[in-house]
Structure formats: structure tokens, C-alpha cells
């Protein structure tokens, strides 16, 4: 069985600024939800772009399913940051989700029955099929986010990448989103990046901390020193409001 992700000593920089430093990450299991937390500007989106092959590291090696990111694109679903979009754009929910099929349909071909079936299934998975003819701007924030997840699912991914999927959603919608991811994680590996520590909820299986360097111990517990290294501030506060213990017992009380 191929590893889902294998990053070895990956370095990325913009100009002279190092954004990612010596990042190593291995994901072997083809299911489960990994949460990557870290402050804004810590390199979270950059790391996702490395997974997607949109950014080339100047040092190190990236493999997805044993292949280069460019060659594994039909196995990867991507939900970009929500605030990037122009919601006035003249496009319907159905058309948005179909664009997730392009890696399968091929150039210059019209969408076929298989594409339409996959799009329909994806919309039903996120419970948005009844809205398929709506223009994208006529939906609520939570509904739009579901549509973008459906677009990623239409690819039939084995790896789903989400960039700050909880931003702009109220707590109720966030919870619905996590429940959806919780269902999906049985069928695929999911990586979600966020700066919001409360996203580290019961549904996350493993947690990594990212601020230029990636702290990851293949577990759900975060060590206090990792968090402090990541956020560079005292971390006692974050234990509040989290509906599940994420701090290791031995360190939690100190």
C-alpha cells in the first residue's frame, strides 16, 4: 500500500524569506482526519500548495500516493480558502460541482453521464442536491462551504485538503461541517489546516502544529512545548472550550 503523503526535508521560500523549514510528514493510513494548526502566516496554505504541486520546494521531496503531486491530481480533492471567491459570479451550484470533474473528463470534452452521476452523488453527500440550480451567491455561508466540499468530492479523491474550512461559519455551522468531515474520513484521508484552535475538536484524529517548522508526533496529543514553539505565547487558555482533552495528561496541569 502506497503512503498517502510523504514529505522529506521540504524547504520553501518566497524571495529570501523561508516559509517552510525542514518539514517532514508521513501519512500512511488511507483514512482519518489530520488537523494542522498554527498562526496566520505560519505557512499552512503554503504547505497545502506544496501538496497540490502549485508550489515547488527548493529543497526536499514530495510524494503523494508514491507519485509527484502533478501526477496524483485525480486522487486529490481541494477546498480552497473561502474568502477568495466572487459570489456574484454567474455560476450555479451544479456548474461549480461539475468543475471538480475536469481531471476525469479530459480536455475539450463535454461532461458525460459519469461526471453528472459523480456530481449528483457529491451534492447528495453534503445534502445540497436540492439547491443545485441556485446561483452560488444565493446560498448561506455554510451551504456554500458544502458546495465547495462537494466540488472536491466530485473528483472522487483519496485525499481531501481543506484550507480554513471553518472560517466565516458560526459555531452551529462549524459543528455541522465537522460532522460531515467525520463521516467522510472513513473513506479518505483528510487534512484540514486552520488557525482556529477550537477547531481541534473531537472529530480530529491527529494534530500537527505548523509555524515554519512542523511539529507532528503521529498522535492526537499536542505537547505544550510544541504549542508554545508554534504560537510563541503561553498556551493555558486553549484548554478551555475544547470539548475533548487534547493536552497530554502529564503536561496539562502545569
Amino acid at each position: 500500500m502506497e503512503k498517502v503523503i510523504e514529505l522529506k526535508d521540504v524547504w520553501v521560500r518566497y524571495g529570501n524569506q523561508v516559509i517552510l523549514e525542514a518539514v517532514n510528514l508521513e501519512i500512511e493510513k488511507p483514512e482519518g482526519l489530520l488537523g494542522i494548526i498554527g498562526p496566520n502566516g505560519g505557512g499552512k496554505t503554503t504547505l497545502l500548495k506544496v501538496f497540490l504541486g502549485l508550489l515547488k520546494p527548493y529543497r526536499g521531496n514530495v510524494k503523494l500516493f508514491g507519485k509527484t503531486p502533478e501526477k496524483s491530481r485525480d486522487l486529490v480533492g481541494y477546498v480552497p480558502q473561502y474568502k477568495r471567491f466572487d459570489f456574484d459570479f454567474p455560476i450555479s451550484v451544479w456548474e461549480v460541482v461539475l468543475t471538480g470533474r475536469m481531471s476525469h473528463t479530459g480536455f475539450l470534452k463535454k461532461y458525460g453521464d459519469e461526471d453528472k452521476k459523480a456530481a449528483e452523488e457529491a451534492l447528495k453527500t453534503v445534502e445540497m442536491f436540492q439547491y443545485k440550480d441556485r446561483q452560488i451567491g444565493q446560498l448561506s455561508g455554510g451551504q456554500r462551504q458544502r458546495v465547495f466540499i462537494a466540488r472536491a468530492l466530485a473528483t472522487n479523491p483519496k485525499l481531501l485538503l481543506l484550507d480554513e474550512p471553518n472560517s466565516g461559519l458560526d459555531p452551529h455551522m462549524q459543528d455541522e461541517l465537522y460532522r460531515l468531515l467525520d463521516r467522510l474520513k472513513n473513506d479518505m484521508a483528510i487534512i484540514m489546516v486552520t488557525h482556529d484552535l477550537s477547531a481541534v475538536s473531537v472529530y480530529v484524529d491527529k494534530i500537527a502544529c505548523l509555524n515554519r517548522k512542523l511539529h507532528y508526533h503521529n498522535s492526537k496529543e499536542i505537547r505544550v512545548e510544541d504549542l508554545e514553539a508554534t504560537y510563541q505565547c503561553p498556551v493555558e487558555l486553549i484548554a478551555h472550550g475544547v470539548p475533548h482533552r487534547v493536552l497530554d495528561k502529564h503536561n496539562g496541569g502545569s
Binding site: 504541486g53 502549485l54 477568495r84 466572487d86 450555479s92 456548474e95 468543475t99 475536469m102 466540488r151
Partner: protein
């Protein structure tokens, strides 16, 4: 009024305005939704270099502007994305560079440059039959390309990054879109001239957006709108004896303002009710 239709220059003018409205109705929608008005204006103005080249080489300026506008589109599309300076600065530089080249070529051309003004400001009443055929051919290329690449262009305009992740060569596709915009500009030059082309690429499409949320319907509505307005503009310019290109733009802007105003009023009332 109907006896006017017997004149071949009137027939040509009507044919030209319909062909121009098809091109700008379809491509204007992409220009507006992808928010590439500025780079389109840059391609249009830089194409003046091709007009000057045509005069200098003593060929039909349309054959100078055709390759030159494509070249402008490719250079602008590449430089604005790849260079380290901000995209709008790069476009501004190339915009004026192309015009400067055109001015030098016109200066170097011996003798007087006849109907130079018609390329700058358009004159639909003097469109020769040959140019009509050229416009028809370009329209066919434009419609064909949009038909073939419809799903790719839609995805590119909505979310370029996601389209790349889907394995579509988005940089090449973007350059293709700019080349099609360049062809559209060539179709429009005789109608309103290089200076005013951008109005035809933006106003009908922006107006159509008020009536539908569907890209295909936007293309249809803006084509119809452009046809009606440009024919009305030609009629008005003939009656008032004022330049046709500018009249078309004035009528377009007036109708747009009127529709926008009325719709705001209606929406305001809807809120009150």
C-alpha cells in the same frame, strides 16, 4: 428610412454592427466576470502599433493589427503574470509602448495616412465589404473557440487555482482567452475604434448581468443588447450627423444608466413592500 437599406454602405454598416455585437456580447462576458477589463484595454490600445505597421508596410491596416494584437495579448499575458512588478504596472507600460510604436510607424510612413482616424475612433459607415468578410471569419473563430473551451473557460474565470489543480494548463488557457479578446478587438475596431473598444467589451456584458445569473444567457442577452443599441446608435448618428462610434457608446452608457437606475428603484420598492 427603409430606402436607406438599399445603399450598400448601410447594409455593410448593419452587418458590421451585428458581427461586432456577437463578438463583444460573448467575449465581453468573460472580460467582465474575470475582471480583466484593464488588460483588455491594454491589448486594444497596444494594437495601434499594428495599425501603424500596416500603414508603414503599405498593406491593409487590418492585416497589421491582426498579428500585432495577438502578439500584444501573448506578451501582456505572460509579462503581467511572470514579472516581478505589479500586474497593472506591467500592463500600463505595454499599453503605451504599443501606441508609441504605432505613432512612430505612422510618422515614418511617407505621405498622408488616410483614414487613420477611422481606426482610432471608428467609422462604421465606411466599412468595406472585405472587412465584413474578415469580421465574419473572426466571429466564427471566436464562437468556435468558446464552444470548444466552454467548460474550461468557465472554471478558469471562476477559480483559476482549482482549475490548475484539476490538471488543466491554466496559463496557456488564459493566454488563449487573451488571444480571443485580441481577435474580438480587431472585429470591433471598425465600429468604434481602438480608443472606445473597451466600452463595447464592458457595457453590454455588465448590463446583461442584471438580468441573469447564467453565463450562456448573459452572452445571449448582451449580444442582443449590443445589436439593438449599435443599430440605434448608427441611426441616431446618421440623423444628427455626428460620429457613429461615439454615438453608439453614448447610447450604450445612457441605456445602462437608465436600466441601473430603474432596477435600483424597483429593488428599493421591493424592500419597502
Amino acid at each position: 428610412m427603409f430606402e436607406l437599406l438599399q445603399y450598400s454602405f448601410v447594409q455593410n454598416a448593419l452587418a458590421a454592427s451585428v458581427l461586432a455585437s456577437i463578438a463583444c456580447g460573448i467575449i465581453g462576458v468573460y472580460v467582465v466576470v474575470k475582471k480583466i477589463v484593464f488588460i483588455s484595454g491594454g491589448i486594444a490600445h497596444a494594437s495601434f502599433g499594428g495599425i501603424g505597421l500596416g500603414y508603414y508596410l503599405d498593406i491593409n491596416p487590418m492585416f497589421g493589427v491582426l498579428p500585432f494584437s495577438i502578439l500584444s495579448a501573448l506578451v501582456m499575458g505572460t509579462v503581467s503574470k511572470k514579472s516581478k512588478i505589479p500586474e497593472d504596472s506591467a500592463i500600463g507600460i505595454l499599453w503605451s509602448l504599443g501606441m508609441a510604436i504605432g505613432i512612430i510607424f505612422v510618422y515614418l510612413t511617407p505621405g498622408y495616412a488616410p483614414d487613420l482616424m477611422t481606426y482610432l475612433f471608428g467609422n462604421i459607415l465606411t466599412v468595406p465589404r472585405f472587412d465584413i468578410y474578415l469580421m465574419l471569419a473572426l466571429d466564427l473563430v471566436i464562437v468556435g473557440a468558446v464552444y470548444l473551451f466552454y467548460k474550461e473557460f468557465l472554471s478558469l474565470c471562476f477559480d483559476e487555482e482549482f482549475t490548475t489543480v484539476q490538471g488543466v494548463p491554466t496559463q496557456k488557457l488564459y493566454l488563449l482567452l487573451l488571444c480571443i479578446i485580441a481577435l474580438t478587438i480587431v472585429v470591433l475596431i471598425k465600429v468604434v475604434g481602438i480608443i472606445l473598444v473597451i466600452a463595447l467589451l464592458t457595457i453590454p456584458a455588465t448590463l446583461s448581468r442584471k438580468f441573469t445569473h447564467d453565463l450562456k444567457r448573459m452572452m445571449l442577452i448582451s449580444t442582443l443588447f449590443g445589436t439593438v443599441i449599435s443599430v440605434a446608435g448608427i441611426g441616431l448618428s446618421y440623423v444628427l450627423d455626428v460620429p457613429s462610434g461615439a454615438t453608439i457608446i453614448l447610447v450604450l452608457s445612457f441605456v445602462y444608466g437608465l436600466v441601473a437606475f430603474v432596477m435600483e428603484m424597483l429593488e428599493g420598492r421591493g424592500v419597502l413592500n
